[in-house]
């Protein structure tokens, strides 16, 4: 049963990295779409939301075709940097990050949209730089919404199955996350292992939800 901790650790690693990527790109793109207007903004929003509605296997296929050794982007990565993502844990991170992306992006966009522009204008009057305004005014005001989105993204990334299996395969200790380990244990008839893995997964999910509840309380402190 010690085997079960390896997929758990790997799942946390993959989901953690995927969440970090989501933090950077989800917040940046959420801010961009909340605050600027440009032609094709709605189209970009739709494309960025696609992973939420598309089947993970379709995404997995896209990624496999794009990033594979013979894929347009994969061949370039391989020849330029010697990077190969297929069947690696980094590939699993990419798959999980893309699948979970709309959850962060949508939450971040909504959170930025409800930030009152007056606060930023006040900061501008005080001659605070735009960068500082973002990090000291806008981001702290939008933070709770973003955090809620990030936690959902973490949970979604941790449970990713379809796209991950297609892009990263199922290599024990390398790309075999909890959800894939469960699938394989069931296929191989190892019910004891499957039971244990399912229990570990359920407990992990409960812990994540409890932590989420603590981090994002129903009311904002300071307001009643």
């Amino acid at each position: 049963m010690a085997d079960a901790w390896i997929p758990l650790a790997l799942t946390l690693k993959v989901a953690g990295w995927a969440t970090l990527l989501n933090l950077i790109f989800g917040v940046a793109l959420g801010y961009l779409l909340a605050r600027t207007r440009f032609p094709g903004r709605d189209l970009l929003d739709a494309i960025l939301t696609l992973p939420m509605v598309m089947p993970p296997t379709v995404l997995g296929y896209y990624l496999l075709v794009l990033l594979g050794r013979n894929g347009a982007f994969g061949a370039w990565l391989q020849s330029t940097f010697g990077i190969n993502l297929i069947f690696t844990w980094q590939g699993a991170v990419l798959a999980a990050a893309i699948v979970a992306f709309p959850l962060t992006f949508k939450s971040a966009r909504a959170a930025f949209e409800v930030v009152e522009p007056q606060y930023e204008q006040a900061a501008r009057v005080l001659r605070i730089g735009e960068m500082a305004i973002f990090f000291r005014v806008t981001l702290p005001l939008a933070w709770r919404g973003i955090l809620a989105g990030l936690l959902l993204a973490f949970a979604r990334a941790a449970g990713e199955f379809g796209a991950t299996l297609m892009v990263a395969g199922s290599i024990p200790g390398k790309t075999q996350t909890l959800s894939i380990a469960v699938y394989e244990a069931v296929q191989a008839g190892q019910d004891d292992l499957a039971n244990f893995l399912v229990l570990v997964t359920s407990l992990t999910c409960i812990v994540v939800l409890l932590v989420a509840g603590r981090l994002v309380p129903g009311r904002v402190p300071g307001q009643s």
């Binding site: 395969g169 290599i171 394989e184 296929q187 191989a188």
Partner: protein
């Protein structure tokens, strides 16, 4: 204080509500009836025969099914393909399967030990061989199984030995050659033999172990480097499932795959006689 007009309107609303309630109820019951009919009507059309077959049988069985249906117009064949181990687990968990065709004896033995199949009607119906394939575009090919241990072969697609027969055959061949420890770290596990074939065809791995019949499906994408002799011959067993809802059709399908007509189809896809 509620005026007379107010009281009247309250009563009016109550009556309207009760009318709307019964009306909605009626619609709901009609609707649920329609939904139930739509959901389950397909089953009433023809007797279904569900055949769970090893992934390597995919193409051949897709051609066999219409031939069988032509002879038995009242039966509709449902094909379900996956790694043999996965199919066994589905049957063990109570999936409504009538016929089970596995790619190896080990899986069928497990089914028999658990009392899942009709052992007296079990038979071997085709044979196959294990080959090493490489992408057609790739440079060179391994001459022997020892070559796969060389650094040039970074990734080798192998069916997962725990649930995929081709992986089990591969593991025993590699163990016999004393190469399992050297090649296991390069192994990219496949959920079934067709996934291993796909990995090689896409050039994502440098080599892969599949059946000769799988390699023959994609001659434009993969080439056979050599045949890896297995200790035991690769024989595919087939048997009716013990809990088959359609026992008569299950037996007739098993008999059908032994006929000359069916065997000719199997031979077309490269399967040998048992």
């Amino acid at each position: 204080m509620i005026s007379d007009g107010g009281v009247t309107s309250v009563i009016y609303v109550c009556i309207l509500r009760s009318i709307r309630y019964t009306f909605t109820e009626k619609i709901m019951s009609r609707l649920s009836l329609v939904i139930l009919t739509l959901l389950f009507s397909a089953q009433a059309v023809a007797a279904e025969l569900t055949v769970s077959a090893a992934a390597s049988l995919t193409n051949a069985f897709r051609e066999l099914a219409p031939l069988y249906e032509a002879k038995h117009p009242d039966t509709k064949v449902q094909l379900n393909f996956a790694g043999s181990g996965a199919l066994l687990q589905q049957i063990a968990k109570g999936a409504p399967v009538d016929v089970f065709a596995s790619a190896d004896q080990v899986t069928m033995n497990q089914a028999q030990e658990q009392g899942l199949i009709k052992a007296d009607q079990r038979s071997d119906f085709v044979s196959n061989s294990l080959v090493v394939i490489v992408p057609l575009q790739g440079s060179g090919a391994p001459a022997s199984i020892q070559d796969l241990a060389k650094p040039a072969y970074e990734r080798v697609a192998i069916g997962l030995p725990a649930s995929v027969p081709v992986g089990r055959y591969t593991k025993s061949v590699l163990e016999k050659a004393g190469l399992w420890a050297a090649i296991e770290p390069k192994m990219i596990g496949a959920q079934n033999v067709r996934q291993a074939l796909d990995y090689v065809a896409r050039g994502e791995v440098d080599a892969g172990f599949v059946y000769a019949t799988d390699a023959a499906i994609m001659p434009d994408k993969v080439k056979v480097a050599f045949t890896a002799p297995t200790q035991d011959p690769i024989l595919y067993p087939i048997a009716p499932v013990a809990s088959a809802a359609n026992a008569g059709a299950a037996k007739s399908f098993v008999d059908f795959v032994h006929t000359d007509e069916a065997q000719a189809v199997m031979a077309k896809y490269g399967f040998g006689k048992p």
